[in-house]
């Protein structure tokens, strides 16, 4: 169980080394970063707000759901808050398992649920104006997919 909400940056190398273990075999990791000026977004900075206490408990709940579905050795979830700039790392999810498919699926599952359930909000700055990011239908769809899979494949 390792859920961290922090302003500091993180290092994927240190996080994967912490998951490396004699029994592991497979580590899957995801990093989300701030897209910026050179992308179509035109974002110059963003500020991440969250709900202290509920954020951690939601992330732990999501981790526990993933552990119930797949044989995971370990899970790391790190999410940054505060002011971030294009190219900065925002979020890291990493899972380790004896099985490659379990690690891939669990990491994607955690990211999909983090996107729709963990209480974070982004305010983006463009041309000196700040606006709150709106939730995306595609993120809801990504989450829904897991329930569909569950019914179709009997995955538990």
């Amino acid at each position: 169980m390792a859920v961290r909400v922090q302003t500091e940056d993180f290092d994927a190398g240190a996080e994967t080394r912490a998951l490396q273990d004699d029994t592991v075999g497979a580590i899957a990791l995801f990093i989300g970063t701030v897209r910026g000026l050179r992308s179509d977004d035109g974002v110059t900075a963003m500020t991440l707000e969250h709900y202290p206490g509920m954020t951690e408990s939601e992330l732990e709940r999501i981790e526990n759901e993933a552990r119930a579905r797949w044989p995971l050795e370990d899970v790391t979830i790190i999410h940054r808050v505060g002011r971030l700039f294009p190219g900065d790392q925002i979020v890291l999810v990493a899972t380790s398992s004896a099985h490659r498919k379990a690690a891939f699926d669990a990491t994607e599952f955690i990211m999909d649920f983090l996107k729709t359930d963990a209480p974070f909000w982004k305010a983006e700055e463009r041309d000196g104006e700040t606006s709150w990011v709106e939730a995306r239908k595609s993120d809801d769809d990504a989450r829904e997919r897991w329930d569909v899979d569950e019914a179709a494949t009997g995955k538990s």
Binding site: G32, L48, E49, H50, Y51, G53, M54, S57, H79, I90, V91, M111, L114, K115, T116, D117, A118, P119, F120, W121, K122, A123, W132, V133, E134, A135, D139
Partner: protein, 93 residues
């Protein structure tokens, strides 16, 4: 334990993101009004606080609710001492 606490029943209300900006506060303590047993009962009492509160809670379909840091909805019960949060759909990750 005998109840020697004579403070009036109350709730902590929290707002996040643009709802926090509209209400002008991230956390406020409000008395638990008589007859309020669920989140939906509470809303008219909050919208009466200020024009900003009314604006924040205008479109309840766009609002997510948590009681004591667990997701709920307008039917979720509330009681003395609870923390009730209102926020827009989340956008982390």
């Amino acid at each position: 334990m005998t109840n020697t606490d004579v403070a009036s029943p109350s709730l902590s209300i929290r707002y996040f993101a643009w709802m926090r900006e509209h209400t002008g506060s991230s956390m406020e303590r409000v008395p638990l009004p008589d007859g309020v047993s669920c989140v939906g009962d509470l809303v008219p009492h909050l919208t009466a606080i200020s024009a900003g509160h009314a604006l924040a809670l205008k479109n309840l379909q766009a609002v997510r609710v948590a009681v004591n840091r667990n997701y709920g909805d307008l039917d979720t019960p509330v009681a003395d001492g609870d923390e009730v949060a209102f926020f827009p759909p989340v956008t982390g990750g």
